[in-house]
């Protein structure tokens, strides 16, 4: 990475840390939302960019965590404890990811895309059609989880600025975790699977196990994002599990450039800011969004951040015997 590219993440971090100092509540909340989606996008990048698994059902893990928070509150108006509800939500997402992954990873390529979509629809229907989480209306979160440890309450998630910093900390930790993963043996094995899975198997790697592990980790991380998203929205509804959500997060990954983890963060920023701009501009903003997506795919295959190297190497495939 060149000097400028290396400095970018640090620059971004500095700006994000300083933001509440000079911005008003609107921007603090907006950027908290963007950072949560950035974690969601990074979790999908682990699958798409690192491992080469295109999943169209990632919102299932995002939404399930939110629903788990709602379902784990003692009653509607009592707050859950952060220290129990967060691990529970992440555990639920991870288990779902293991279950779906175990079956979906028996398929490859296009089948895999379609199967992940169908399974997330299954989860969507469970919450939409049954009374489990309030059906199609969803449920409100009247009281944000309390971060109480005995007599001491270190963080008040109800305070916008504190919530912002908690989310920022999670973003930083998640990013660092993924960078470490990318550089580890496990991460290199995932790259090998993305590059040439048959070769990996012929070398002695149990690629199914690696992919399942990546799927579970990605699901867990999406669960973390979903938990905090639910807190910020103040409610959960089946739309959090919809395939539109899955398609949107996939778009964030490609917008920013897949495979670097940082690209996903850039993509999340770009997508949400664009979405807000378009919907303010016109009632028919879907047209603008759709047109933008089509143009992005046709004109910017490498995404905004530089994953261009990867695509360029694929394109230089000489006809080989």
């Amino acid at each position: 990475m060149t000097g400028v590219r290396r400095a970018l993440p640090w620059l971004a971090l500095t700006l994000l840390v300083a933001l509440p100092g000079f911005a008003g509540k609107f921007y603090i909340d907006l950027f908290a939302k963007i950072m949560i989606m950035a974690v969601f996008a990074m979790s999908l990048d682990l699958l798409v960019g690192f491992t080469g698994l295109v999943s169209l059902g990632h919102a299932a893990f995002f939404g399930l965590a939110g629903y788990t928070l709602v379902l784990s509150a003692p009653d509607k108006y009592t707050a859950a404890s952060l220290w129990t509800s967060l691990p529970l939500a992440v555990a639920a997402s991870t288990l779902l990811a293991l279950a779906i992954g175990a079956l979906a990873l028996r398929t490859r390529g296009v089948y895999f895309i379609m199967v992940t979509l169908a399974f997330s629809q299954l989860v969507y229907f469970v919450f939409h059609d049954t009374k489990l989480g309030g059906g199609s209306d969803g449920a409100y979160i009247y009281a944000r989880p309390k971060a109480q440890l005995g007599p001491w309450t270190p963080i008040d998630l109800g305070d916008g600025t504190q919530f912002y910093y908690v989310v920022l900390a999670i973003l930083v930790v998640a990013f660092a975790f993924l960078r470490v993963l990318l550089a580890s043996r496990f991460g290199h094995a995932l790259s090998g699977i993305r590059s040439n899975e048959q070769r990996m198997r012929a070398l002695g790697f149990d690629t199914y196990a690696y992919k399942l592990a990546a799927f579970a980790i990605a699901g867990a991380l999406a669960g973390v994002a979903g938990y905090f998203a639910a807190i910020q929205f103040g409610f959960v509804n089946p739309e959090m599990l919809s395939w539109h959500e899955s398609a949107n997060v996939l778009l964030m990954v490609i917008l920013g450039g897949s495979g670097t983890a940082f690209g996903a963060i850039v993509g999340a920023f770009a997508f949400i800011l664009l979405e807000d701009a378009f919907s303010l501009a016109t009632r028919h903003w879907l047209l603008l969004m759709g047109g933008f997506v089509i143009a992005a795919v046709m004109l910017l295959p490498g995404g905004l951040a530089s994953a261009g190297e990867r695509w360029r190497h694929r394109a230089t495939a000489s006809s080989d015997g």
């Binding site: 028996r106 199967v115 629809q121 299954l122 778009l251 490609i254 028919h284 089509i294």
Partner: protein
């Protein structure tokens, strides 16, 4: 369950299955031959239904709407392939998924601009608005039988096309080996355009013909799309026979599921898919891939 109710459910299952088959056959052909995963396929069904509504309002009769509707669909498919879809050949699945998702958004809003977001009904043509008696107390709408009949006819025509014509032979060859088709000197670009237009026409026709029986509403394309994916996964990519079997299977599971387990009927189809996946990860009728 008494016999006439059972018979009604069987007829409903067949109708549902055959309609789904028409839409899914297009999807499986487009993927099998052109290697493109097309998320916008459900939109063609939706556009067909809305076209039926619009054209029927204009001409006064659904019959008069079908021919122009299908013709429009073919032209639309041809142009769409030429401008956007051809870009997607040899591209990564990720790009295909996203570009066709963009198309869904565009189609949604274009439809919204053209005819609005209201839910509509399409009148059953007067000639077919009778009901036939089933047993001593139940009746069944003649039009629903006609839907099944129409789908069967089109399905039969499709099979004849695929198995007994030169075009069909090229399509089947292309489904298993694109390179070979190219090296035989066949204009692959034209073949793809025809296949894509065919797929669009099949989906639009299904939407038009089924419109009087179900309502015409904005989200109908998305629901059909996902079911089509399940059909293709169960039936095997590129296999039209597989799509038929899978679509009928889904028709029965869904219809009888709604009767016996109404709360979980939405989930049953996906459970079926999970079961098939455990048993045959490449679908029931996988085409031998080159």
């Amino acid at each position: 369950m008494d016999l006439s109710i059972f018979l009604i459910q069987v007829l409903n299952s067949v109708q549902y299955g055959l309609t789904l088959f028409l839409v899914a056959s297009g999807l499986t052909l487009i993927f099998g031959i052109m290697g493109v995963i097309n998320l916008a396929h459900g939109s063609f069904y939706m556009l067909g239904a809305y076209a039926a509504y619009t054209l029927t309002s204009l001409t006064g009769n659904l019959f008069l709407a079908i021919a122009p509707g299908v013709a429009l669909a073919i032209v639309f498919g041809y142009v769409l392939e030429w401008i956007f879809v051809s870009f997607l050949y040899e591209r990564s699945h990720l790009q295909q998924v996203l570009l066709t998702y963009g198309l869904i958004l565009v189609f949604e809003d274009l439809r919204s601009l053209a005819v609005g977001d209201d839910v509509h009904g399409v009148a059953v043509p007067a000639a077919l608005s009778a009901s036939i008696p089933l047993g001593s107390t139940m009746t069944y709408p003649v039009y629903n039988l006609c839907i099944s009949a129409a789908c069967l006819v089109v399905a039969a025509l499709l099979f004849v096309l695929l198995r007994h014509t030169r075009l069909g032979m090229m399509i089947r060859a292309g489904a298993s080996n694109r390179e070979m088709v190219r090296s035989l000197g066949i204009d692959v670009g034209m073949l793809f355009r025809i296949v894509f237009a065919l797929g669009v026409a099949l989906a639009a026709f299904a939407g038009m013909v089924a419109a009087p029986a179900s309502s015409v509403y904005p989200g109908m394309g998305n629901q059909v799309l996902i079911l089509c994916f399940v059909v293709v996964v169960i039936g095997g990519i590129g296999s039209v026979t597989g799509a038929l079997v899978a679509a009928l299977l889904i028709g029965f599971v869904d219809t009888f599921g709604k009767v016996f387990l109404p709360d979980y009927s939405g989930a049953l189809v996906y459970l079926l898919m999970a079961v098939v996946l455990v048993w045959r990860p490449a679908g029931l009728f996988r085409e031998t891939t080159a």
